[in-house]
């Protein structure tokens, strides 16, 4: 029974709840049991478990379902990335500087999900302040991927990042879906590494209010689930205008889940030649070509496109994101909230607090950003990067004259071992080479599990859509999902009978 419940899709679970095959309490309990099993706890996917609160909410869901007033996602257990402020529940951004922070307010996205009836089983681990691509920079320790390499089963693998805890929780059956945030690939890349769907909408689709800020011109909320349809359902209930976010758009939110099953016949799928980067593993090239063939079989038309400034996207990102981060993270001063380490005067208190509160990657990015914004370097770095950002964005505008969606690999590798790449920041940064360009242009992107590599590890393919056209992106992703028929699960979920 409990094995069945943690393997269901959100859509199946909603049907099961409606037809009274099981209760929300049973559904939530099954996921809590999985979350609290020793093998799942060993993955370190959660910073704070909220089992008690979840069970109380499940009771409320059950009464609503019983009296016919159920909400659209009533009773669905999810994981909440610990970057979303949750009222009365500790929210850390995986940083020591916010170790004791209990928000007196709820983020707009988490409030919308509450209003839709979802139940949060815990606050998911992440890279500190969402800065990282492997979930190894968390103050609370790294998250482990539930997948194991066939050739090196003893190796602990990263779940990707920054939303690594969210992705691991969904992949291992601890939650049916999860929130993430995506600044340069932080939902799509972990989706790929964990064999699940990770989606980021158009910039401005979801409110940023109450999401702890990293790089404000890039940050967007995103969703994880085990199917494209489930991810569309979640995203739908996270989206919409919010007067509290100055860059929230007033665009209407289409019924993503209802529209994604439409035919892709005649859909033009662009293949950007610049994404065939030097040294790309054969497995990645193969899955990309297979993906194009699958969409072609489904009736789509494959067209070659060019995104000439692709190679500059990652260095551009590593000026803009740290610059914005250095400014956003200036608020952590040990005065109004968060950690304080007293010094001999106020300046000394600031310096002690920030030295003790931030980890190495966060300090590195704050210093890079501070340098790029400092007198004499601002134009050479920051303004230059903003100009290149426009060229990257215009590349997409031109490409979308010839195609409706773009197909690329999500990441240049499958999950790597915890500890790999940590000594070389640039090597780690290049893991986001395929996801950053769409972030720079504010475009929606989704990673769909498409196959396994020679180590038996999942590989995702990314579909990038036009701004505000998530519907076409979801349609293409759904067609790809149907063709790929990816059904492998990590051992943890298979064994949890």
């Amino acid at each position: 029974m409990s094995h069945n419940l943690i393997s269901l899709t959100i859509t199946e679970a909603l049907n099961g709840l409606k037809s009274k095959k099981f209760t929300a309490t049973e559904l939530v309990t099954a996921h809590i049991n999985q979350m609290q099993s020793p093998s799942c706890r060993a993955l370190n996917a959660f910073i704070t478990e909220t089992a008690e609160q979840a069970l109380a909410q499940a009771k409320n869901s059950d009464s609503r379902i019983a009296n016919g007033t159920s909400l659209p996602l009533d009773g669905i257990p999810i994981a909440m990335k610990d970057l979303f402020c949750t009222k009365g529940v500790r929210t850390t951004a995986a940083s020591n500087i916010l170790n004791d922070f209990i928000p007196p307010y709820e983020s707009t996205v988490s409030q919308k999900l509450l209003d839709a009836g979802t139940i949060t089983v815990g606050k998911a681990n992440l890279d500190e302040f969402a800065m990282g691509g492997s979930n190894t920079t968390s103050y609370y320790g790294p998250v482990e991927n539930p997948w194991k390499s066939k050739t090196h089963p003893d190796k602990k693998l990263v779940p990707g990042g920054s939303s690594g805890g969210s992705a691991a929780a969904v992949a291992a059956g601890m939650a049916m879906g999860a929130t993430g945030t995506d600044t340069g690939g932080s939902t799509r890349q972990p989706g790929s590494f964990c064999g699940i769907v990770g989606v980021k909408p158009t910039y401005g689709r979801c409110s940023r209010w109450g999401i702890i800020a990293f790089a404000s011109s890039l940050d967007q909320a995103g969703a994880f689930a085990r199917t494209v349809e489930d991810s569309a359902l979640l995203l739908q209930h996270m989206s919409g205008f919010d007067p509290k976010d100055s860059t929230s758009a007033g665009q209407p939110v289409p019924d993503f889940a209802a529209l994604l099953k439409q035919d892709v016949k005649g859909l033009r799928v662009g293949i950007p030649k610049e994404y065939r980067v030097e040294g790309m593993p054969q497995d990645i090239i193969d899955i990309w070509e297979k993906g194009a063939a699958m969409l072609k079989d489904a009736g789509a038309i494959i067209v070659d496109i060019s995104l000439p400034h692709t190679k500059y996207a990652v260095p551009t990102y590593y000026i803009i994101a740290p610059a914005e981060a250095s400014s956003n993270l200036a608020r952590y001063d040990g005065v109004r909230y968060g950690l304080r380490v007293d010094g001999k005067d106020l300046q000394d208190t600031y310096e002690n607090t920030r030295a003790a509160g931030f980890g190495a990657e966060v300090k590195r990015r704050i210093m890079i950003g501070t340098y790029c914004l400092s007198a004499g370097y601002y134009d050479a770095y920051y303004t230059k990067a903003q100009k290149v950002r426009r060229l990257i964005s215009e590349d997409f505008t031109k490409a979308f004259e010839h195609c409706d969606v773009i197909l690329t690999p999500t990441a240049p590798s499958s999950a790597f071992a915890i500890g790999e790449n940590t000594d070389d920041p640039i090597k780690m940064y290049l893991g986001d080479v395929f996801t950053i360009p769409a972030s720079m242009a504010g475009l929606p992107g989704i990673s769909v599990p498409a196959g396994l590599d020679d180590q038996g590890l999942p590989l995702g393919l990314q579909i990038i859509g036009r701004a505000w056209d998530e519907v076409t992106m979801f349609k293409a992703a759904h067609a790809l999902e149907q063709q790929a028929a990816f059904s492998t699960q990590p051992v943890l979920i298979k064994d949890a009978a």
Binding site: D100, F101, I102, P104, Y105, Y203, G204, S217, P243, S246, T247, H309, Y312, P315, T316, Y318, I319, S326, A330, G334, V335, R336, G338, R340, D342, G343, K344, D345, L346, D348, T349, Y350, E351, N352, R354, A355, F358, K363, R364, I366, M367, I368, T370, Y371, S374, Y381, T383, K384, A385, Q386, K387, V388, R389, R390, L391, S393, P425, I426, G442, A467
Partner: protein, 95 residues
């Protein structure tokens, strides 16, 4: 561009992060490598290109000039490391 330890020390000061000699030895070569790597942007011709600050490029909305929040002193102070009578407390700054 060369990032030596004294530059890192200056930047850390601007960012209000205390650094030790070990920190300087650790960060200087990393920051140097990263900044050298982003130098490649200089090869892109950006003559006549307007900087893109935000993709939404929308004019910021105005709201009515009315009080729409407040009266939440308790909530504002509840996470403060130290408070006295409704104020945040910091180290003495005026002798």
């Amino acid at each position: 561009m060369s990032i030596d330890k004294s530059t890192v020390s200056k930047v850390a000061g601007l960012a209000r992060i205390k650094v030790t000699e070990d920190d300087l030895n650790y960060y200087a070569p990393q920051l140097q490598n990263i900044l050298q790597w982003v130098e490649q942007l200089q090869e892109v011709n950006t003559d006549g290109v307007e900087p893109l600050a935000n993709v939404s490029e929308i004019a910021l909305r105005l709201r009515d000039d009315v009080v729409n929040d407040g009266g939440i002193q308790q909530e504002v102070l509840q996470n403060a490391p130290e408070t006295v009578e409704g104020f945040f407390v910091v180290t003495k700054i005026v002798e």
